[in-house]
């Protein structure tokens, strides 16, 4: 039976992407290793720091650090995107030409690819996170309310990060070498999203900067919500910030895409 419209396209994309992912099993394993290793390193570093400071650093006990970085791995896995690293190649090699001839926005192909990869690899990431929680003796006992608050925060974080990073990717329409921009962006996210360390460890001024930027709402907010560290008011502010940044990202994406395609097609597709 044919599923009509966009749902049918997503169904076909899922099948295609699964087939592609299975073609490259070794690459898939290497990607997974990278995804797991980064938070694992932070986890080891920060639990060691906590131990050396008498069991606590910046309001986090050793067990809470373990929980933070194990859940960070899950949240980062759910929200991360890689398309902005690929756009330069796509633009340079004329990949957009066949894409622009299809009666569908190319963002759908990337979103479907992203979701397929996540669904596939979550089957590995989730047990590894559980293993870390257990083996590092993590302090982690979320209430039902924490889980209920976490679910929409994670979905909004995924949408926000995807839109923001897809918009960033569009810089490739104007600049031939976007790797430098991507690298700077990566550092900003690492620092201000709570990946490198919980934001409560930052000096007050930097914490204010992190609150004003969108990155905190892409990772730290859902993560701390699941850990039960967001109060009622903080939750409301968090959702509002996520929605506001998502709105801004969508507008930026729309404007940048239109201008980008016009530029692409002006300089030679």
């Amino acid at each position: 039976m044919m599923i009509p419209g966009l749902a049918g396209v997503y169904q076909a994309r899922f099948k295609t992407e699964l087939a592609v992912q299975f073609q490259y099993r070794a690459a898939l394993v290497i990607w997974l290793l990278g995804l797991i290793l980064e938070p694992l390193i932070y986890l080891v570093v920060w639990t060691t720091v906590a131990r050396s400071q008498g069991g606590e650093a910046g309001g986090f006990s050793r067990g809470e650090f373990a929980a933070y970085f194990a859940i960070l791995m899950v949240v980062n896995h759910a929200t991360f995107t890689w398309h902005f690293w690929e756009f330069e190649w796509r633009v340079r090699h004329g990949f957009f030409s066949p894409v622009l001839l299809r009666p569908i926005h190319p963002i759908h192909a990337d979103l479907a690819q992203n979701l397929t990869f996540k669904l596939l690899t979550f089957t590995v990431v989730a047990p590894v996170a559980l293993l870390l929680l257990v083996s590092f003796d993590a302090t982690f006992s979320p209430s039902l309310a924490d889980i209920a608050a976490f679910a929409p925060a994670l979905v909004l974080a995924m949408a926000l990060r995807f839109c923001l990073e897809w918009t960033l990717a569009l810089a490739a329409f104007w600049l031939t070498r976007v790797s430098a921009i991507n690298q700077s962006y990566y550092v900003l996210v690492l620092f201000f999203s709570g990946q490198l360390a919980p934001l409560s460890l930052l000096p007050v001024a930097l914490r204010a900067v992190a609150t004003a930027l969108p990155f905190r709402w892409m990772i730290s907010f859902p993560l701390e919500t699941l850990l039960g560290r967001s109060s009622g008011a903080e939750l409301a502010i968090g959702y509002a910030a996520q929605l506001a940044w998502l709105g801004v990202s969508l507008v930026l994406l729309r404007v940048t895409w239109r201008a980008g395609v016009r530029r692409y097609s002006a300089v030679g597709a």
């Binding site: 044919m2 073609q23 009666p103």
Partner: protein, 345 residues
Amino acid sequence: MSAELAPAIQVRDLRKTYSVPEREGGVRAALVSLVQRKNREVAAVAGVSFDVPRGEIVGFLGPNGAGKTTTLKMLAGLLHPTSGEVSALGHVPWRRENDYLRRMTLVMGQRNQLAWDIPVVDSFELNRAIFRIPADHFRRVVAEMTELLDLGELLKKPVRNLSLGERMKCEIAGSLLHQPEVLFLDEPTIGLDVTMQRRIRGFIAAYNQRHGATTLLTSHYMADVEALCRRVVVIHQGRLLYDGELSGLVDRFSPFKTIVVDFASDPEFADGQLAGIVGADGEIVSQTDGRLTLRVPKARTAQITGQLLAQLPIADLTVEEPPIDEVIERVFAGEAREAEPVPAA
């Protein structure tokens, strides 16, 4: 004019100018370019106008860099023109409205529309969903393509395992699953062997016949053009050089015919006899054992043939039009630049 009767494609004074950065070679120039960029305006298409009626196959010819691909990309909606107007199936192509995209296709010889890692049929399935092709219709079209292009087992192979020719056949089939009414084919036979070229040529003709598709085709292989196109549009340096029947191109740009003579026995020419027959405006192309090849003005062909038959021991004589490749080459080489400008057909 009603929409039904209007040409499928109408192009009016289409222009595309690129701003191209330029600098001298060497480190010094590279350093200077850091602070002082120089750009040059290049007119890739400089005011081209033509129509293509529904169902017609038109050959779009020109040397490399003539502006063919740029024009095709503007017609397909990939490029915004600098100025000018295009109406294709009643749409302005570069607005890329879904209704237009569902009714046209652009096949570019070197570009990949099929996913590299998965079997061809999976890419086709994806196109089915994107173009919203009903399942039974899709099955019928794939069966038709399989028959016309002999796809058979190819459909199950991953694209990366296909040869260039096999991939091209699958690319063409994949681009036509939604049965477009307008086809832009940019070098569809490039890099293929003669058999494969013939196969694809036959397919394009059959598709055009079955579906009445309007087709604009570029190719450097004149065999493609001769087999498929009665009408050609020739552009050079972004300008329209000729628009009309392919046979008319030969008449206009090659005012010569070739006469090949085989002798019954070795002829003995009196001093200046041959030069006298050929005349100042003709040319002896070659003179080898028992065979003579001449290039003579069309208007004097009959007179020269008569003189040859009367004066020499001839076993066989043929009069030929010059090969179309040669004519095209002459057009591009600028020999015909002096010819009077040709109004658009």
